[in-house]
């Protein structure tokens, strides 16, 4: 199996005027090609920081981190990943299709190839027909789908998603979760997914990384025993509930270590 992301003894400290904040401490993790890995934990546990470190948006202060066998910076320069942020961050002066074209323009794809890729990815996220709309004319769920299409458009093998559905209501979120699974199935991408929802993490992932705060570290890594094909009602099966219980336990263990201060 090919290793996509590998972290060894990774640490990341933010210096502030009020003393250093240890965002990540001694993180060891390997993510293989085709994995769907969820990072779950309370806020401040460093899950987003870890994702940003993979994306070269933050610089680790200790340990080693490699992406596709390169440093994160080389991987970023090689356009190795697509990143989906908490907010859709679509540019309001561009139509949906022009937003999806943005990375393609920057990476120098020909106009013909741009329109072919736009059509393909918009179909992939079920947004066909909304090409000429502006972001502010779409609902929050549709905006986030467009931002996923934008991250998929240049066909990076790795997809980094930072609480992409955090701001959406539960009905839309369920719907997008099952669509995301189908999309993962069709594209065979490696996905790193940050969330603070236990059902979401268990439903989506092949592996669940449980993290805890102060300092941010990995407390448990759970391999999912669920089949790859997951209808939404799999969430009522005993198997699903058992994994969810283990995640909850891992989160609680992280808290008790903290002396119950939270």
């Amino acid at each position: 199996m090919t290793t996509v992301v590998s972290a060894q003894n990774l640490g990341l400290t933010f210096p502030t005027g009020d003393g250093d904040i240890v965002a990540l401490s001694d993180v060891n993790l390997t993510i293989n090609k085709g994995d769907f890995v969820s990072f779950i934990g309370p806020s401040g546990c460093g899950k987003t920081t870890f994702l940003r470190a993979i994306a070269d948006l933050e610089k680790p202060t200790s340990g080693t981190l490699s992406v596709n066998g390169m440093t994160p910076e080389q991987a970023r320069q090689a356009r190795a990943y697509g990143y989906v942020f908490q907010a859709a961050a679509l540019y309001p002066w561009r139509t949906i299709e022009k937003n999806i074209a943005l990375p393609l323009e920057i990476m120098g794809h020909s106009p013909a190839e741009q329109s072919e890729r736009i059509a393909r990815t918009m179909e992939l996220v079920n947004l066909s027909g909304f090409e000429k709309k502006y972001p502010w004319q779409l609902s929050g769920g549709m905006q986030q789908r467009a931002s996923i299409a934008r991250a998929l458009a240049f066909d990076a093998d790795l997809l980094l998603m930072d609480e992409p559905f955090g701001a959406l209501d539960e009905i839309v979120r369920d719907h997008l979760n099952s669509e995301l699974l189908k999309l993962w199935e069709r594209t065979q991408k490696t996905i790193c997914f940050v969330t603070h929802s236990i059902p979401e993490a268990v439903y989506l992932s092949t592996r669940i990384v449980v993290m805890s705060p102060r300092p941010g570290r990995v407390t448990d890594i759970i391999e999912s025993t669920l089949p790859r094909d997951r209808p939404l009602d799999i969430r009522e099966t005993p198997e699903f509930l058992a994994i969810a219980a283990r995640v909850r336990e891992g989160l609680r263990a992280g808290h008790s270590y903290d002396g119950g201060a939270v």
């Binding site: 994306a55 990943y81 942020f85 961050a89 002066w93 990375p103 920057i106 990476m107 502010w136």
Partner: protein, 370 residues
């Protein structure tokens, strides 16, 4: 009792208008032959008291205001002061106009009349009422033309001197304001982009720009005349100095308007700083840049006109104003002021229209939430 469809303000205005008309009518009976039209309008105005019993359309109020204005202007005495009851008629006509606008805007607010079209009536009525009052007061009270000429005299002077006014407009607006504005704004934009690229320039240029903007225009205008000569070049230079800094400051602020997440996105694409500038930061700075363009459109005109007070060939709006005051040709000065006001408003309006087209996506333009 007043009918209940009027607000207290509207009832008060209606009462004031009708009573002033009634009083005007009473006083005009003795001099009926000198101003029969005015007496007629006064009696119609007094008749508006029927609104106590019957509904009275707001358009009737508008018609009364219009008739009153026409009668007042037509009955102005050729010389000497206006008789007392004319002033009562003026009060009545003013109150009718106010009442009309009040009722019209209330009707639009309730959605009974469309905003577009009828909404334009309100500022037009307001402007006309102001002009009529100005005309009647200056002529009726025999205000010396040197203090304030009536609009009719300004209009007549305007029509008589169109060639001079046009030459002044070309000299000041076309030759000084437009090139100066374009150069100042482009320079401000360019320097802002350079400043943004280099912390050294930011530390060095911003205080100098600030210093430049603090220089009084009265001080730099004569110096520019010494540097660039008497003709339009020195005026354009003053305009450049005035418009440069607002554009610089606004653009520097605008280039930082893109959110952290939007910049992170560009970073994940490994976009070059040029690509980030062209595809994210400049478009995001659009509303700021247009703000500066709008501020500068009025600043530029002021700068060029004032600069012409300090040495100029014998043409130009500022030159005409300064010499016009000296020769007591106040109506010509007012005509120049009218040209400047119309040119300045039109300039601003054109920039605002372009802004609507370019920054259509901004919540302030599309009227939505962010």
């Amino acid at each position: 009792m007043m009918r209940s469809d009027l607000t207290p303000l509207q009832s008060g205005l209606a009462l004031l208008a009708a009573l002033a008309a009634l009083a005007g009518l009473a006083f005009s009976l003795s001099t009926f032959t000198t101003a029969p039209l005015l007496a007629l309008v006064c009696s119609l105005g007094a008749l508006s008291l029927v609104r106590l019993i019957w509904p009275f359309s707001l358009w009737l109020d508008g018609a009364l205001a219009l008739l009153g204005a026409l009668a007042l202007v037509a009955s102005l005495p050729a010389e000497g002061s206006m008789p007392g009851h004319h002033w009562l008629a003026l009060v009545a006509a003013w109150a009718f106009a106010w009442l009309f606008v009040e009722r019209l805007s209330a009707t639009i607010r309730l959605g009974k009349l469309p905003e577009t079209g009828t909404g334009l009536v309100i500022p037009i009525v307001f402007g006309l009422a102001l002009l009529v009052a100005w005309e009647v007061i200056t002529r009726g009270a025999n205000v010396p033309p040197v203090l304030l000429p009536p609009p009719s005299a300004i209009g007549a002077r305007f029509l008589a001197e169109t060639s001079i006014l046009w030459a002044d407009f070309v000299q000041t607006f076309i030759k000084s304001v437009l090139p100066g504005y374009a150069m100042g704004c482009l320079a401000g934009l360019g320097v802002a982009i350079l400043v943004d690229r280099s912390p050294f320039l930011k530390a060095g240029v911003m205080p100098i720009g600030n210093f430049m903007s603090a220089l009084p225009i009265i001080g730099i205008a004569p110096i520019m005349v010494m540097w660039f000569g008497f003709d339009w070049q020195s005026k354009a230079a003053v305009v450049v100095a005035m418009t440069f800094f607002p554009m610089l400051v606004n653009t520097v602020a605008g280039l930082n308007a893109a959110s952290a997440i939007e910049r992170d996105l560009m970073h994940t694409y490994a976009a070059s700083s040029w690509q980030t500038l062209m595809k994210l930061r400049l478009p995001a700075a659009g509303p700021f840049i247009f703000n500066a363009l709008k501020i500068n459109s009025t600043l530029a005109l002021i700068g060029a006109i004032v600069a012409e007070f300090f040495g100029t060939p014998i043409v130009g709006m500022g030159f005409r104003i300064s010499t016009g005051v000296g020769r007591l040709a106040i109506d010509l000065v007012w005509a120049e002021i009218a040209v400047a006001a119309v040119a300045g408003s039109a300039f601003y309006g054109v920039i605002a229209l372009i802004e609507r087209g370019v920054t259509f996506w901004h919540p302030s333009v599309r009227g939505g939430r962010a």
